[in-house]
Amino acid sequence: MTLDTFLTQVFNGLSLFTVLALMAIGLAIVFGLMGVINMAHGELMALGAYMTYLTSIVFARYLPSLMGAYFIIGIVVAFAVTGAVGFALERTMIRFLYHRPLDTMLATWGLSLVLQQLYRQLFGPIDVSVPTVTWLQGAWNPTPGIAIPLSRLFIIGLTLAVALAVYLFLFRSRWGLRIRSVMQNRAMAGAAGINTERVDAVTFAVGCGLAGIAGSALTMLASTGPVTGQQYIVDTFIVVVFGGVESLVGTFLSAFSIGQLQSMFELFLSGSMAKAAILLLVIVALYFRPNGLFALKVRR
């Protein structure tokens, strides 16, 4: 193995880490903080991807000169629309299912099927093409043998920005304070005058909006179609569960270890075997640490 191959692979691991983290961060909030097992999380990512697609069409038709900027707007639109859909979902469906995890799973799984078919009706069964903006096409070549795709660099930057924003939101804002207090002790938070229902809805909406951002960014790497969400959902859940359900740091650490291990395994094993090896490792790890890598030590 040459040095170029090795260095590229180190970058690939880093890139996979940020992709996984970006996918998982929304679910870490919805599942980790709120305890809602949202099986339709993948479809919300697909919604983000479709919103980016629609934005690209609008720009191509009405603002072709600003096409280079569409992707940034697309990410914002994806966050806004997916967040709004999340808010509506929480108000009309999820809030009736708190403390009924099995019912939540069934209901959100059904929702994922409905959304898939809805995308199929609206956008057709065939994948749509989301153009990659010109300034993110191609690669940066630090040496002739190494090609670092600009799209992956962008995703690394985006993930760091999103992580920072989530940190500031949860730990440095009024809203974050309310969210954390409701998650820690709902009754006390309510008694202290916090509108817990409102907090639930906003938290869920933010988690969904983050899924939209992930879906939007991943259009550069993968497909945008009715079943796009299915391609992400399993990895997303594994990252969150492996990291420890109630810990955002755990989610990042889990994404990092899975990303690095998977890309190293893939170098020496076939893709399927690498995946199997990762799953096996996760199972063994969960056997010894049932609450994930970063379980909070709390009295129950």
Binding site: Q9, T132, Q137, L221, Q262, K275
Partner: protein, 397 residues
């Protein structure tokens, strides 16, 4: 509306009355009169994950049925299609197949796309002695007396592809595919073919269906420096594979890549710019030049829209309907055994050129075509093989 209701009432009364007639008298009315429509089933996934490919196949089959009806039907009887949705779910396929055969008593069924769905309905067709026309290119290794296979089996695509590549592009092959029976069987056929052509396999990788992360294997491919990448990746993974290849500067122009499972329809989702120069091997491309195809393509576009494109499986499905019609007319009967017997050596001028059934193995003698994707998503045909004999049970390497 009023008329419809009256018709419905009449039918209801007639049915009720028929129920009262002793069954011996029913026999007379069973022998359908000449103008009665002949029922056929169409069984594909209109919903669920596979709908991406299958929904369009239904369009092609309906076009053939409309054309045949406009020209007077089969044996003087119009065709009445009954469309069922397999919903990308294999037990549903089996249920719907049973419904079509048992309660609708269809003369034949055009259906299935994935091998899994075909395997699910196969015992149903054998039990009820039904007839299925299966239009997808597939791995072979099957021959049911109740199924006619109108797509190419694996040897008809991978052997000509490998031979052409070894002659024109180079002899070091990297095999990459999705992890299920079709890519694995295809590559087991590819191995001895590559060896025979004097080539070597420098890498072989399989990824679970739906994989969207290919950066590591692309790195491996770069390190292995193959002359040719032979890809049997299917579905949404293809989008990720070609996007990620392009993002590190590998494309159809600087690296020969042969895709065995990318049709023109899928080019749209992959992004035509990502696919330019990539090679494909199929039985049919929309760009085939012959008088039949010159009528077929505009007819399809007139019915379904000018922006629609036609892929290999859609053409095979369209051809299936005509092959059934010809066989029924040759047999002068809709009886399954007679239609199958009449299909032996039966030929037709299809949009893909003149093709004909094998004398006994239920598969078609077909051409293989190799072409390169152009920026508009259509394929520039570089090579066309003579008719290749189907060999569904090859010696596997």
């Amino acid at each position: 509306m009023k008329n419809n209701r009256r018709d419905f009432l009449k039918t209801a009364i007639a049915t009720a009355a028929a129920g009262a007639i002793p069954s011996s008298m029913m026999l007379a009315s069973r022998t359908a009169s000449a103008a009665d429509p002949v029922k056929v089933g169409i069984l594909h996934s209109l919903t669920g994950t596979v709908a991406i490919a299958e929904a369009h196949v239904v369009d092609a089959e309906k076009l053939a049925i409309d054309e045949i009806n406009a020209a007077g039907g089969v044996l003087g009887r119009p065709i009445q299609p009954i469309v069922e949705d397999g919903a990308s779910d294999w037990p549903t396929f089996a249920e719907k197949a049973q419904k079509l055969l048992e309660s609708d008593k269809v003369a034949t069924v055009f259906g299935c796309y994935t091998s899994a769905s075909r395997k699910a309905v196969l015992p149903v067709f054998e039990r009820y002695n039904g007839l299925l026309y299966y239009p997808t290119y597939y791995e072979g290794l099957e021959m049911s007396k109740n199924i006619m296979y109108t797509g190419q089996e694996a040897t008809q695509s991978v052997i000509p592809a490998v031979n052409w590549l070894a002659k024109n592009k180079g002899k070091k092959f990297y095999l990459i595919g999705s992890d299920y029976i079709w890519p694995r069987t295809t590559n087991r056929i590819a191995h001895p073919t590559i060896a025979k052509a004097g080539g070597t396999v420098v890498g072989e990788d399989y990824f679970p269906l739906g994989t969207v992360e290919f950066s590591s294997v692309i790195n491996k491919i770069k390190a292995a420096k193959p002359d040719v990448i032979l890809s049997t990746i299917v579905g949404g993974s293809n989008v990720a594979f070609y996007k990620q290849l392009n993002s590190v500067g590998i494309n159809g122009h600087n690296q020969p890549i042969m895709a065995l499972a990318v049709t023109e329809e899928e080019a749209i989702g992959i992004g035509r710019e990502n696919l330019t120069g990539v090679l494909s091997c199929m039985g049919y491309f929309q760009s085939v030049q012959n008088p039949v195809n010159a009528k077929f393509v505009p007819a399809f576009k007139a019915k379904y829209g000018a922006d629609r494109v036609i892929g290999d499986t859609m053409e095979a499905a369209y051809t299936s309907v005509y092959l059934w019609k010809l066989a029924a007319e040759k047999a002068k009967s809709f009886d399954v055994q007679k239609v199958v017997a009449a299909s032996s050596n039966l030929g037709w001028d299809a949009p893909e050129g003149h093709i004909h059934f094998h004398v006994s193995n239920h598969h078609l003698w077909k051409h293989a075509r190799i072409g390169a994707f152009k920026p508009d998503g259509q394929v520039d045909i570089l090579y066309e093989s003579p008719l290749i004999e189907p060999n569904p049970f090859p010696k596997l390497g």
